[in-house]
Symmetry: C2
Subunit: 206 residues, 2 copies
């Protein structure tokens, strides 16, 4: 399985065909998250990643051609994990504001347990701008779809716009930075309640 056969630089990462291969790829991505998160892109090394993963160097080259390529794959993987966490938290019985609350709460917990995600996504702005942009555009699109669905169901006010989605994404990202990455991350319910009440009713005195 381990081959150093070179693939074209634009090729997608090779998809493992066996369960063992899937496990190796997962180990490499998890190790890359630690390596890039601790050292940053420039100081990180392929040998550092394989050492953390406990895999041979050849296994790395089975799936990736370069440090750039595994970084790009990692941003995509983390972006997918954020989406998957929100997806899991949003159970079918939820609607409207409860969906937004569950999605934020899940993100706050995910960021607390994977603090390196901020450093990695933020570094993509410099190392791989296309992935950086794609992560936020994809996330905003997902939020806008929820808002439009809630508008159609009569729960959200008419006129849900892309700007609402970006505003909500910004709220969530900065609350995660402040309370999950820089803070203890031990009050996801309180933070999610504050943000959800603000989203629902605003902060005007009534």
């Amino acid at each position: 399985m381990a081959t150093s056969q070179s693939r074209s630089p634009d090729s997608e990462p090779k998809v493992p065909r066996t369960e063992r291969g899937r496990q190796t790829l997962r180990k490499l991505l998890d190790a890359a998250a630690k390596e890039f998160g601790e050292k940053g892109f420039h100081e990180a090394s392929i040998s550092g990643i394989t050492r953390r993963a406990g895999t041979a160097l050849g296994s790395f080259y089975t799936y990736f051609d370069s440090k750039d390529e595994i970084f790009r794959a990692l941003v995509k993987d983390m972006s997918g994990q954020v989406a998957a966490q929100a997806g899991k938290a949003v159970t079918p019985d939820l609607a409207g504001f409860d969906i937004e609350r569950a999605a934020l709460r899940a993100f706050l917990e995910f960021a607390r347990d994977n603090r390196e995600i901020y450093r990695i996504i933020d570094e993509a702005e410099f190392v791989d701008p296309a992935s950086f942009r794609e992560h936020y555009e994809t996330t905003a699109k997902r939020i806008l779809e929820r808002l439009q669905k809630g508008e159609a169901a009569g729960e959200f006010a008419p006129g849900m716009d892309e700007a609402h989605a970006w505003a909500i994404m910004g709220m969530n990202v900065f609350l995660g930075l402040r309370y999950s990455v820089w803070g203890e991350g031990n009050e996801p319910d309180r933070i999610a309640d504050i943000a959800n009440a603000m989203l629902r009713d605003g902060i005007a005195s009534r």
Copy 2:
């Protein structure tokens, strides 16, 4: 005036005593914004900065000891410019939500006219984490003070919290990224209206 006398690494940038010195320092900081914004920290050079500023290398060392030091000064300067723009927009006749709208509108215009600000502040997360953190903590503190003042005046709901300030900051930062840096930046009023209405009344259907 031009001296290469070395100062201790922790010293504050030297404060110019003459009007001409103030102009030179301003030119150096503006040139640094362009150099770091276009090339990023690692590719940027002191000679690139002085070339853009049209100043002698000696003038640089009058005010800064290193590329790191001018970068740190630049983050502080940009953070101060963001605050100053908001301050100018918030005229004494405004209160409550009108203040928040004016502050966001001013920021959207500032980010459109100084697109490099995102790249510079975001790169500080890696090059100078303390400045990165200070920028956001200072900005959030300023927002929270406005919220508490509005709460005392009966315009904002009781219980304004640091989390509200971070949520509002996140909204503003991401709306600036989407519409001022990645977009044309030609609809600050529409964006400020959407964000302000959401902040005031939320997005619940009524």
